[in-house]
Symmetry: C2
Subunit: 338 residues, 2 copies
């Protein structure tokens, strides 16, 4: 690769070479209806020979459309997000859009900064996961006058979410049916959508007249290590739980580790349920019972909604996708009270 910066060939260069005007070249390149096949072909051939690559930059400037979207995720390392990113990226590309990716680290200022930078780049719209700003975007409308779709934020009008309420209910119900009465919950205090799970958890317990014990609700942060600590904390209780419902699969993996380190058998001594259904969850030891979120489809739905907003369509409503309990081998009958 020669390293000096070369000047790229432009429409003007082709025009000169072909002995026509730049506008003719532009038209020829776009298969404009009223163009003679002769010049059309000549221009096309010349463009190819000269190694012409159109500048979407310049095009965007005049068409006022970058065909670009911004995707804000919390952490690139979060495995829950990778399939979602895939859904967004594939669907966007199939619609001719490129996607900018940046992460917010669940930080309000960072997120604001990223959204601002996307707006400077004149992205046609933005998709945000785990937003810390959420409904404040409605007020920031004049600062960011471009369509925004949020993921898992049901209070915002343009959003795509998984039905966590129903998912959490199914999970806890499943444990109750197995005879568990001391059911713990490991939360993610940082996340507002965590409330759905916790509310469902409490509701199911109440419906079955199971007393709610606050010591059985432990705070986590959705990461592996916090799952380990939460597990240890729960095991050190005078009356440890016989089942643990976790905020997500990563937390569940941490809890499983804590149980193993305490020489407890799953599910014989304690049942565990996760949330997300990561690809790896089916390959854990034992394979994890969990609530599946349709990550790929959520990403896909988000970009579709965003494209509708970009096109100025009306009647767009928040979407809620179904979750599904996947019963594998980390849940079993409650141990007999000894």
């Amino acid at each position: 690769m020669s390293r000096e910066k070369r000047k790229l060939v432009s429409i003007k260069d082709i025009a000169q070479e072909a002995g026509v005007s730049p506008s003719t070249v532009s038209r020829a390149l776009h298969n404009h209806p009223h163009i003679s096949t002769e010049t059309g072909e000549r221009v096309q051939r010349l463009a190819h020979e000269m190694g012409y690559t159109p500048s979407l930059l310049a095009r965007s400037l005049v068409t006022q459309d970058t065909a670009t979207i911004g995707l804000v995720i919390t952490y690139t390392a979060d495995p829950f997000l990778s399939r979602l990113v895939q859904g967004v990226e594939e669907t966007a590309r199939n619609s001719g859009y490129s996607v900018f990716l940046s992460s917010s680290y669940r930080d309000y200022e960072r997120e604001l900064e990223v959204v601002r930078s996307f707006h400077e780049r004149r992205t046609s719209g933005i998709i945000i996961t785990g937003s810390q700003i959420d409904t404040d975007y409605l007020d920031l409308d004049d600062r960011f006058p471009l369509p925004i779709v949020l993921i898992n934020c049901r209070t915002y009008p343009y959003s795509v979410s998984a039905d966590k309420i129903s998912g959490a209910k199914q999970a806890v119900e499943h444990l109750v049916q197995l005879g568990h009465r001391r059911i713990a919950f490991v939360s993610n205090a940082k996340l507002s959508t965590d409330l759905d799970r916790q509310t469902s958890y409490q509701q199911v317990l109440r419906e079955h007249d199971i007393p709610i014990d606050d010591t059985l609700v432990v705070e986590g942060d959705g990461m592996l290590e916090s799952g380990v600590r939460a597990g240890q904390k729960l095991l050190s209780l005078p009356q440890p739980p016989t089942a643990i419902f976790c905020f997500n699969d990563l937390t569940a993996m941490g809890v499983l580790t804590a149980l193993r380190e305490a020489d407890l058998q799953v599910p014989r001594d304690c049942s565990v349920v996760g949330f997300d259904d990561l690809e790896i969850s089916a390959y854990l030891c034992p394979p994890l019972t969990t609530v599946r979120q349709p990550c790929y489809r959520m990403g896909q739905a988000a970009i579709r909604m965003l494209l509708q907003l970009i096109r100025g369509e009306n009647g767009i409503q928040a979407e809620i996708l179904q979750t599904e309990l996947i019963v594998r081998q980390t849940t079993g009958l409650a141990p007999e009270p000894s």
Copy 2:
């Protein structure tokens, strides 16, 4: 959010409002040296009040610099890549660059298509993982006259790689030291860098006068499911291996699953070594012995090299980062020959 498309305020609008020329506004916004503090402040204030957001699009067109890079990855769902993406994204952003993300699915045409689209967007440079095109880029120089850095492709002059040769050696050596003589290898036929591992594998065996048995080398594709199949295949051998060295951690997880389903204990009946050291690998059951690739630092090194290329610096050389054997609990002494 009001849904009609508003016209954004431009430098001209501010100029008119402030009663100065557009160039003065431009200078004021950039803290140009020769500008009166009075107008400077007035313009800044006005810009803020009017909700001005500069168009990097227009700016890029004139400065011939988009401050944008393209990142091509094989699959967004590959957990090995998430930390690498993080390294690229964070470092890029800290240098004022935004990053486009797209995936190639390890397909030559797809990759070409993505690179072309990045070039159309006039990205300042491109980073590519798992390239199928690799050294062909040297010939494609006229089609893509922009800096390209490859990851894990040592035959290309501008590349960042992990030292897989040494890593694989350490892994197999470790198994030999534990007394294993029937050591299997699960490969990834799709990937050229796989050869490094396989070569090291054979070399270590030779060094220890261990006969090389071709039936102990099984093809995989680096995904979970292929690990399961490879494991099953190896177990069905008349003389199954006592240790399995896997192309990556995902494959190792699959192998572990196959072993568990066959009611074999790890490492008592069979040892397993992975490659990558994903975050979750430390939390498997048992925790996985593996070769760590410094994913984050590889991403960081790649973007640094790319920025050097963009700046036109000389003397840039391919970088090779060290790998490290992380011994956990899936490896143990070879079982006594029965």
